[in-house]
Symmetry: D2
Subunit: 128 residues, 4 copies
């Protein structure tokens, strides 16, 4: 399932080159993952309360075109579970259908004591 959510670019997101600062796209992407989960029925805070922490293990991203102040960007997210210990969010940042940033964010699942655990069935169920 593909989930899309939109955010506006504010001054906080930009830098003195006049575009969105590269690290801030990862904030947008994290918002996209949060809304993906919420849209599927349980928020990040809900999962945390249940003792499941989704923590970023690795990322890769290519920055193709910059967003600027006032732009509305769409974060398009899909989720898969490639192994018992790894979830994968494929995420695109788009502006009016144009691809700005293309990324892969792999996450692991920790329990409430922040120990690595296998992805529980209820999280695997969110995958395509």
């Amino acid at each position: 399932m593909q989930q899309s959510v939109s955010f506006k670019v504010y001054y906080e997101d930009t830098d003195s080159l006049g575009v969105v600062y590269y690290a801030n796209y990862f904030k947008f992407m994290e918002r996209g993952r949060s809304e993906f989960l919420t849209h599927q029925g349980r928020s990040v805070a809900d999962w945390n309360a249940d003792g499941f922490l989704l923590v970023v293990h690795s990322v890769q991203a290519t920055f193709k075109k910059p967003a600027v102040l006032g732009d509305v960007v769409d974060i398009v997210t899909t989720f898969t579970v490639p192994s018992v210990y790894r979830g994968r969010f494929a995420q695109r940042v788009e502006r009016a259908g144009e691809l700005l940033v293309d990324g892969i964010v792999d996450v692991v699942c920790l329990d409430a004591n922040q120990n690595l655990i296998e992805f529980p069935p209820q999280l695997r169920a969110l995958a395509d």
Copy 2:
């Protein structure tokens, strides 16, 4: 005129005390000012393109209660022009009607060369 806009609290906004980091409320407040302007017909980028830069001159804020991950906060904004060189945004950060942060943000108007100018009539017109 009072304008309200809502934002969700994501991990990016929080700190290791488990609440929204104090400086980040000023990001929410700046989003509120941006949406106030947009709602009145012209965005920050529009004003900038016309050669009017609204720059923060001073702030005061009281942090009464903390917001946490997943909260939806409402930024409630009003605007006055107390003098020819000063605009004033009174802003509240609320959660379900409860006041979290109470702030005053005074702004000045610069021209495209970043020189101080009097508030132009079209910006004064946005005041109550």
Copy 3:
């Protein structure tokens, strides 16, 4: 006692107007308060481990001149305890002796359960 600590301005601190984003000065000021405490013998993490959380209650700041990419800014901090429930950091952000931002940050002390407590003697002892 006055404590000064210096930081460089990086892209992360700037916005598309080409200057340091206003909310980010509060990050510099928080670093200044942290270094004030460390310089006095115990870090923020040390105080937290002892069950004392210093939380910002209110701020006021005036932005007089902007810092830009590559600037080195000095955060000059003094501390007083104006009442049993309130500590006050007076902070200046300077560049080569020139005042950029002038601020007052009032903090309260919480215990490990995040309940308000009187400033303990060992924190009052840090005041001038």
Copy 4:
């Protein structure tokens, strides 16, 4: 040539899971690249003034262990120029010799009009 620079972790860097927020490691890494350039003789602002903008094209990073409030992290940076249009910073975030984050940041060079150009000889000269 390998360049190392150290930064402390402040509240601004952390999130409500009690560790450094993943996107903020990219801020530390950008500081590391900036200091790499400065150490080689010319700062980012110097290069920009000469009409050379180094812009991130792609990143990959693996987050192995988290940093927490008060940690001092070392950003260890090397630079190569794998092709005429691409510079590569290999960067590690370490704490007391322990690897926390391992990353690769590829950058392109833009001219003052933000058009893509070949890496100029003076930047290629910074590579190992």
